[in-house]
């Protein structure tokens, strides 16, 4: 099998497994206590915090661990909206944010807040000027992802961060798809990420709240994680996440250009091998490992099932299924075909031979499905 779904989750990095086992043995005690094993757990936790903070361009005391990337987004958004509610109740988000951001925005709106959604162009990118124009005197928070999770397009975070700073609006950057893979632009007030996207274990997210950013816990406070995240710390998971991030980042410096070239190959070949296909997302300003294309006249789920049978684990943004009954909000916002959508996201060490084999079997798979549905050229 070839695993092409790193954007959903990256397989556990060997460095994470090693650190996890070590910390299960040596970091099991309560890091807040004052005896020997507790001090060892505390040391592991703080070392992990320093590692992750340095990787993300933050200070250790600004960095907290959550139970997931989604929880980091929820706490980051709700805590800022709560602390700044006297400034106003207006929230700005892009149309292509992760569902954790959009669901929080939906709840804020149902609670009487105001939300402005900034649209994107055909490549999935927001226009920084349009984003800046959405900021108002009563804007409490703005959210922009570092890169899109479905199509890989990088967002103009630096320009948007400048506009937010000029308007004195905190900016939350959801860096789940890019942390560990590409450098994170600066200028943000809050940053969120998720360890299983960089080869860490599931169940560890990161919330960074910059000094001087007003934030108050939207949940009943307790004394863990600088009062930002309630609940007992997952020290072994956090230690593994930090070890994975460091190892992964080091490898990505070498591996990202190679993966990017494989993505380039897919971007270039697929439209030549298959009729009526559109490669979507920005061809240049993109994540190194992710490419998405849509095949006309093909049901996305049928194509994923067929590719699975042929040995390829891929994902799709389209969801023309009974359980959602909605097309992908990202594809919809971009105005591209929402069906027949395939997202290929390469993981650490994906081999060129796997990509070659994928390109060899894909045209036949699409062709078979088109014939089944009665489309003939």
């Amino acid at each position: 099998m070839a695993y092409f779904d790193a954007a959903s989750t990256e397989p556990l990095h060997p460095a994470a497994r090693e650190a996890l086992l070590e910390a299960l043995e040596g970091g099991w005690a309560d890091p807040q206590r004052l005896y020997g094993p507790a001090r060892r757990a505390r040391m592991l936790l703080e070392r992990a915090r320093a590692q992750v903070a340095a990787s993300l361009g933050a200070r250790p005391d600004e960095t907290s661990f959550t139970s997931s990337g989604t929880q980091a987004v929820h706490l980051g958004m709700l805590g800022t909206l709560h602390a700044r509610r006297r400034a106003g109740r207006h929230l700005v988000v892009s149309a292509v944010e992760h569902s954790s951001v959009l669901h929080t925005a939906g709840q804020h709106e149902r609670d009487g807040g105001k939300v402005t959604t900034v649209g994107v162009d055909r490549s999935g990118r927001v226009d920084p000027e349009e984003f800046a124009a959405a900021l108002r005197p009563d804007t409490a928070l703005a959210c922009l992802q570092s890169a899109n999770h479905e199509v890989g397009t990088l967002q103009p975070v630096t320009e948007v961060a400048e506009a937010c700073r000029a308007a004195r609006v905190p900016l939350l950057v959801d860096a789940a798809q890019s942390a560990g893979r590409v450098p994170i632009p600066g200028g943000w007030s809050l940053l969120t990420a998720s360890a299983h996207k960089w080869g860490g274990p599931p169940g560890v997210g990161v919330l960074v709240v910059r000094k001087n950013t007003r934030w108050r816990s939207p949940l009943p406070e307790d004394d863990r994680e600088s009062r930002r995240v309630p609940g007992y710390e997952n020290v072994p998971g956090i230690a593994a996440a930090a070890a994975a991030l460091e190892a992964y980042r080091g490898e990505m410096e070498l591996d990202a250009p190679r993966l990017s070239a494989l993505v380039e190959l897919i971007r270039e070949r697929v439209p030549r091998l298959i009729d009526d296909v559109e490669v979507i997302g920005d061809p240049v300003e993109r994540l190194p490992h992710l490419v998405t294309f849509s095949c006309l006249y093909v049901e996305g789920e049928a194509l994923l099932t067929e590719l699975d049978r042929l040995g390829f684990e891929v994902s799709s943004g389209s969801s023309c299924t009974a359980d959602t009954l909605r097309p992908s909000h990202v594809l919809e916002a971009m105005g591209v075909i929402t069906h027949g959508n395939v997202r290929v996201s390469l993981s650490r060490g994906t081999r060129a031979a796997d990509v070659d084999r994928f390109l060899a079997v894909l045209p036949g798979a699409v062709d078979r499905l088109r014939q089944t549905s009665g489309v003939t050229g």
Partner: protein, 98 residues
């Protein structure tokens, strides 16, 4: 070129697009109740039934068709002319260009 503010948030109902009454369709395809990609498969199969310059309409109630029909027109260089709101679903009007 850019598509701006198509949706408020995902839960919000779709914004009404600019609706104008346009030229009448020579052929109307009924794809009501059919899921994507069936409506545009039917459109692609039957657009040849109208002459170049003529209008063909697709009736569909799968919300994906609202994105897919205009996107299909762009990819296949056909003209998306207008969208009519029906009691159930929409009728998408397309002008055949070649």
């Amino acid at each position: 070129m850019a598509l701006k503010r198509r949706r408020a948030v995902r839960e919000a109902p779709p914004e009404a697009p600019p609706v104008s009454t346009g030229p009448a369709a020579l052929v109307t395809i009924d794809a009501l109740g059919r899921k994507c990609p069936i409506p545009i498969i039917m459109l692609a199969e039957r657009i040849g039934e109208v002459p170049v310059g003529g209008i063909i309409a697709v009736k569909a109630d799968d919300v994906a068709a609202r994105t897919d029909v205009p996107a299909w027109c762009r990819m296949k260089s056909q003209d998306f002319v207008w969208e009519e709101t029906l009691p159930r679903g929409w009728a998408f009007h397309v002008r055949r260009t070649y």
